[in-house]
Every structure is written in structure tokens, then in C-alpha cells.
Amino acid sequence: MKHSTVLAQLRPPTPDLDPQWSAQTLIAITERGTGRSTARPTQIELDHMQSPASARRPRRVRRAALLLAAAASVAVVAIPVLDSGDAVAADLRELSQAALTYDSPALGRGTWLHERSESLQRNDANLSDGAILDTERETWTSWDGQILLIERRPSQGWTTYNVLDDQTPASYQDPTPAFAQTLPTDAEGLRAYLDPKVFGSSSHSEALFEALSGLATSHTLPPATLAAAYEAIADIDNVNTSDVQIDGRPAIEITYEEELTSSSDSITVDRATGQVLSATQQSLQSTYTSTTTLSEVLDTVPEAVLNAFEEHEEDVRYDTTGQPLAD
């Protein structure tokens, strides 16, 4: 068994607070916090301090998404959320059917998955550093998972060239096209495969959603497996769907909300093709959205691209003139 798997199983139990220490500390905190030993918190403040997190529900936020292979900005119109279980299940069945019947280019041994994406991360000004991080990525992924990665940050004018080939075995977290072919092609089988493996989230439901949405977003799944992933998502608690129109094109946003951390993950899926167009992770500290603008299957990596990787060192940032930037 891998050490990282063992590590996940060794998650410490949450310690109990000593009741006496807890009470005394809470009093000391309220006194120290105000800087006046005689000051006492108001009842409202005490209620806020002592109330369980689960009693406070985060505000739901809608986000925009972009169209696969579309140019620049487009108008997004949110349509009221379908939040009944039946409506969510119906939406996911529809996406499952669309994925199953869409005639997508087939990945195979010797082919390369070529993708472009644009991502934007906004860090909260109060809870984080307030930074806005824009990244354009272009990748060529081989059948066995070698990734040629070009990253650009337009706002800062740099570009990097990296080959990701660290021999990490493929998994549901880092699926290669070859690995994706080995996954179960029915919802029950996929769920049975993932249930004992997922870890590292605030809840099992969140971990399952992250795994399934990550697989769908990888664009490596065969049609039947992608269809099964949507059906499996339909069985996860706290999942909602909403209709969005993207430049007149219907899509469905699938969102998982985690109350414990006031965070949400979502993917936006094209109704017609069942393909994931964008993924968003939102927490109190930041919002991160990545939109795929191109996804295609190539027989070979263009020579000009291979030359570019020959000419640039890894982990070095190059400016717009191609000169390396100082650290």
C-alpha cells in the first residue's frame, strides 16, 4: 500500500476539549480580546462565538462560465436553480445520455490530447492576499500521461515550459488516457471503485464529487465512463444543478456545496455533448475558475511545439521577448 494511502487512514481523531480548560479559556479570550478586563461580550457576540458552524449556512453564489472553443467573453444568463432531487437526477441523466451519444474524437495509443484553458483565481482581500492570478495553459497529454505544459500569465508577461513526467502512477486523481480506459463503465461500478479510495475532504460526499467531477473534467474518459460519472454524481448528497445559457448554447452547472467549509465546487457541462466546459472552486479565501477553450485529439505533437520545449529550460520564466526572467 502506498504511504500516501496509509497517511490518509491515519487522520487523527478530533481531540475532545477539556471542559474546565475550555470554559476558562473562553472567558480569558473574551477579556484579553477586548483589551479591557472588565469588558464583557454582548449576548449576540457570545452566541456568534459559541454557535456551531453547521447552524450557519453560506450564501449561494452563481458564477459565469465560458463556451468550449469559444472566443473571449460571452454573455451568461443564469436560469433558476433546479434543486429538487428529481430535477437534479433528470439533468444528470440528460448529460449522461448526451455524453454517451456524442461522437467525440477517440483517444488511443499513440494519440495526444491537446487542450487550451484559461483560468482565473481571485484571492479574497481580507482572508487572503487579494491577488488576481490569470493563467493560460496549453497541454499535450500522451496516452501514458506525459504532459507537455506551456503556462502563460498575461498580466505579468511570462511563459514557462515544463514536461510533467514524474512517473507517478495514474489514479483517479491524475488520470491518463490509458488509465481512464480501465475504469468501470457503469455508475454502480464506478462508485464501488471510488468509495474506498477517496479521501482528504471535509466529507465523503465532497471527496466523491471531487473525484467524479475531476475525472469528467480531465476529458480522458471514454463516453460510457463519462456517462457513468454523471449518473454517479446524481446519487451524491448536496448536489444541485442549474441551467445556464452560454452564448445561446444550453449548459448545466453541477454544484456541490460543503457547509463545513463554506466552499463549493462546480462543473459546467454542455447539454448537447456532455463535455465539461469549465470548473470552478469557490471558498471564502478564493475563487478559481478554469475554462477549457479547446480540446482535440492529435496524432502527433507539432514539430514547432517540440522545438519550443527543446529551446526552453524547465521552471524558468521567459518574458514576452523570450528572455529568461530573473527570480
Binding site: 487512514q9 487522520r11 473562553l26 462565538m49 458552524a53 453547521s54 463545513l260 471564502l284
Partner: protein, 158 residues
């Protein structure tokens, strides 16, 4: 907030400063929260862990205290849940203790503290992409897929 989150902040603090000093970190963390109550998000755990992390960093800078590798193994072993396979448990914790601090932190923020990648990225001041890359590298090193080139004593002496 206290009842719900103090135990988990205590769990985080124990890992970094040991069982004896952890309650002080929890107290300091909630003093900050109390002073900035209007700014504390709901729920507060990711914010509280980020605050505890800064308090611990400041403490370490001020007293230059560092934990030896053997002490780290003992501490992690005391905190971790019992494992069915003792040899696998010991080996995993031994390798974890030998990792560089930023690799160990990335792994445990996710695996033990339950933060997702975006939250852990914000807590560590990294972009989401950079954090995911760090986490991937950390898992690779932990699993022996990359050489442990940093199992050295840089953090063992003042």
C-alpha cells in the same frame, strides 16, 4: 465557533508545536478571532487554521526552536490514528517526518485537516495550481517515487 472549531485547531496546533504548547496556540488564535469577530467568516475553520499557522510561524521565528527528526516521528506517531499495519504506519510516518516542512504541510492540510486544494492554497499563500503541483510532488516523494533528497538535519538545530 469555539465548540465546533477549537478541537480541530487544537489538533492542527498539536502537530506543529506539540501537546504542551498547543493550547496556547489555540487561545491566541481565538483571541485574534475575538478581536476581529466581524471579519471571521462562516464557518470559520479555514480562517482559524490560517491564523494558527501564522501564530506558530511567528513563535518559531522568535525562539528559533526546531524539532529534531526523531521528535517529529514521535509526535506524529502520538497524534495519528492507530493503523492496522504497524510497519506500514511506522514507515509512512517516518517518511512523512523526513519531508521538507512545506511538503509535509501540503499533505497534512489536505489529508488530516480536511481542507480542499483551494483552501489549502489560500492558507499557504500559493496559487491553486502551484499548490496542486506541490501536493503532487509531496505525494510522489512520500511514496518513494522521487528521491528523498531533503532528509537532512536543516531543521534540527537552532
Amino acid at each position: 465557533m469555539w465548540q465546533a472549531d477549537a478541537p480541530r485547531v487544537l489538533s492542527y496546533a498539536r502537530r506543529h508545536v506539540g501537546l504542551n504548547d498547543a493550547p496556547d496556540v489555540v487561545s491566541e488564535t481565538f483571541v485574534v478571532a475575538w478581536r476581529r469577530l466581524a471579519q471571521v467568516p462562516e464557518p470559520a475553520l479555514p480562517w482559524l487554521i490560517g491564523t494558527a499557522r501564522r501564530i506558530i510561524d511567528n513563535t518559531r521565528r522568535s525562539d528559533r526552536r526546531r524539532m529534531a527528526l526523531t521528535q517529529r516521528v514521535e509526535l506524529l506517531s502520538a497524534l495519528a490514528a492507530p493503523g492496522e499495519d504497524n510497519s506500514a504506519r511506522h514507515e509512512a510516518l517516518q517518511r512523512l517526518a523526513g519531508l521538507r516542512e512545506h511538503y509535509r504541510e501540503a499533505l497534512l492540510l489536505v489529508a488530516w485537516d480536511g481542507l480542499d486544494s483551494a483552501q489549502a492554497a489560500a492558507a499557504t499563500g500559493l496559487s491553486a495550481a502551484a499548490f496542486r503541483k506541490r501536493l503532487q510532488r509531496a505525494r510522489s516523494v512520500l511514496d518513494g517515487l522521487e528521491p528523498v533528497v531533503h532528509l537532512r538535519l536543516e531543521e534540527t538545530t537552532p
